[in-house]
Symmetry: C2
Subunit: 397 residues, 2 copies
């Protein structure tokens, strides 16, 4: 964290920079004493008092005596003033859109989920308008019951999102193409807050990094398998976006050039090797009418220890390990977090997966931990919230 | 670039921070007027004058009237004072070690190669000491002829280098294992300057980013094929290092699980599919006694337009394109730079390579430029120099 007060630089811009540093710290680290804020920013006591004053006036923070004894401190003297975020007033709206479901929630600065709901997505294939109108309605409903408007809105979508303008370039399962989702949602919901849109897997990786199993890591790879394979990579504490925002399409890494044709047109993409359909093929289910029910039945059978169901997971371990080995050799992430179908895979075939990973990856020097993503289905929503917070904080610069 | 003078922060640390900001700007952007330095750092005229004074005293910079007319400026008034690096005094030593050859050079702050030589590597398989003693001798020879000692030393090696302590974990072609190269070189050459060691392909990527075909890009992937495949990735203007420093081992990305066994133990690693031996196999040369001569003969035949030689390059295009497609889908780098054997491949089979890349990669949304690395054989040396400069600049913080 850097913060500064300097002669020779535009004072207004420095002030915004320092306000942002304080908010960012409170968002990521929680309530902090004035002294603590001074230590992490390097600012003087009077500068901190002045900045906290402004944040208080703007309704973003409040100060109170320490509610709990600080560990390692004796009870002498005045209790320190603790600065906390007023998350009932300073909150973002987070939305996670899927083919069947829309989740929406209010998430406070600081990461608390204040309110959350899920509803069926009124999705009309080929026409994004009914779905967008539904989103706008949900946003309006949530906003009217609260005392302040959201400071920003984040939306997670299963598709490619262009960094430059936030347009959803392509979301195959939703039939969206070049959709200016953020702009249209702002118009339809009549909100003035910024709306940021991102790929759901990238956002889930961000959420795991800030709030989940990847806290205090500088690097991680998050991989989630469903019908497709989504991923997000954090390197040097930053979510990898690439040149245009599309970095992380590891589902389309070719791991078997002689394999099946992927919907993208290429052959042997990793997601054709390890996605839901590849898993179901292992138990003889081809082109299922209701994929979700078939998967749930398979999980139940595996949970009961049925050999055929467990075998299906075990058979998937070699192609899963191949792609994971590639990720490890490419990123040296230290930590690989598994989401979606890879979580039950870890549950039912962990030994087989680890054995194959060690067998396949040629560079034992690269240390790696393999674990489950912690946030599960909430990852997309929490990631959308984090992206919204980042956009709010960026508005200070 | 950030620079600041602030109350409330340790003044000595701030001063070092600002000195570093000036040096870094001069290193990357070249001679700059005091006014220009003020603009990029946000510091006042008097602060700049003071800092430039210290750098002048330390022998790192000098000031002079503008030697050339600034574009767009009329000739009125005093010519502005231009601050330049004194690269005869402020230089790094750069070393690139290979199985056969050692290159060593003096590279000034600012990137000018002041002096450079190549010699046969006195490499004894299994015993690193003779090679290290040779390096130390070369360093001493170069240092004694100059007016000042180097500010830092950078060494590029064909192997895995651990970030934490700079130890070469494994350099298979040199037979090195857990070698504390930097520390031993400092002792043997009796130098006090810091010595940084890095993987040669990662350093070449850094050099292309700062001095070569990737200038002014925020993201790029550099891939170089020889006996193995080396790579370096720049994302968000930073060289990707990963958790322990090993990121970028894309030669061991498995692109053909049914393929040949790699020296790493895995099967179908990309480097077994596209490395020098894979190329030579295409013209019927298996386990060559002198690989380098065979390759040179092949290049000559290709240059003369011989069908069999050109076909060898063309046949390599599908596996090369497969790995490149993966890199593009994973990193969305915008720019892919090809080095080593991939440069003649681009020369003799560019159409075939581009055709296959478009055919294989499934996501046409990801824009990508394909080009040759510009620095060629000098890339390792210049990358070692850049790493040394970075370590010198980091010593200010």
């Amino acid at each position: 964290m850097t913060a500064s007060t300097a002669q020779g630089r535009d004072p207004a811009s420095l002030r915004r920079h320092n306000l942002r540093a304080l908010l960012r710290h409170l968002h990521l680290r929680g309530p902090t004493s004035r002294v603590g804020l001074g230590q992490v920013t390097g600012l003087t006591r009077s500068a901190i008092a002045d900045l906290v004053g402004e944040l208080t006036e703007r309704g973003l923070v409040l100060e109170s005596g320490s509610s709990q004894q600080q560990p390692g401190r004796t009870g002498r003297g005045r209790p320190p003033l603790i600065v906390s975020l007023r998350d009932e007033r300073a909150y973002v709206l987070a939305i996670a859109v899927d083919v069947d479901t829309v989740r929406i929630g209010r998430v406070g600065l600081g990461g608390n989920v204040l309110e959350e709901m899920a509803t069926q997505h009124e999705h009309v294939p080929g026409d994004p308008t009914p779905g967008l109108e539904q989103l706008a309605r949900l946003v309006r409903e949530l906003v009217t019951t609260t005392e302040a408007p959201p400071i920003a809105v984040g939306v997670a979508v299963p598709g490619l999102v262009r960094d430059e303008d936030g347009v959803v370039t392509r979301a195959p399962n939703l039939g969206w193409h070049e959709l200016a989702l953020g702009q249209r949602l702002r118009e339809l919901a009549e909100i003035t807050a910024p709306v940021v849109v991102g790929n759901e897997a990238r956002l889930a990786a961000l959420a795991e990094h800030r709030r989940g199993a990847g806290r205090d890591r500088t690097d991680l790879v998050y991989v989630s398998a469903g019908v497709g394979v989504g991923a997000g990579i954090v390197a040097h504490d930053q979510l990898l976006t690439g040149n245009t925002g599309y970095a992380g399409e590891i589902g389309h890494m070719i791991t078997n050039p002689g394999g099946r044709t992927c919907h993208c047109g290429a052959r042997g993409c990793w997601e054709t090797e390890i996605g839901a359909d590849a898993l179901l093929r292992r138990i003889g289910v081809v082109e299922p009418a209701d994929r979700q029910s078939e998967l749930e039945r398979l999980f139940e059978r595996a949970e009961q220890g049925e050999a055929e169901a467990l075998d299906a997971f075990r058979q998937l371990c070699t192609p899963v390990a191949t792609g994971l080995a590639n990720m490890i050799n490419i990123f040296d992430p230290g930590l690989v977090l598994l989401g979606g179908l890879l979580r039950p895979l870890l549950r039912y075939a962990e030994g087989e997966l680890r054995y194959n990973l060690e067998r396949i990856r040629g560079l034992p020097e690269l240390p790696v931990e393999l674990g489950s993503a912690r946030l599960g289905e909430q990852g997309h929503l929490l990631g959308a919230a984090e992206a919204a917070v980042s956009s709010f904080l960026a508005s200070f610069e």
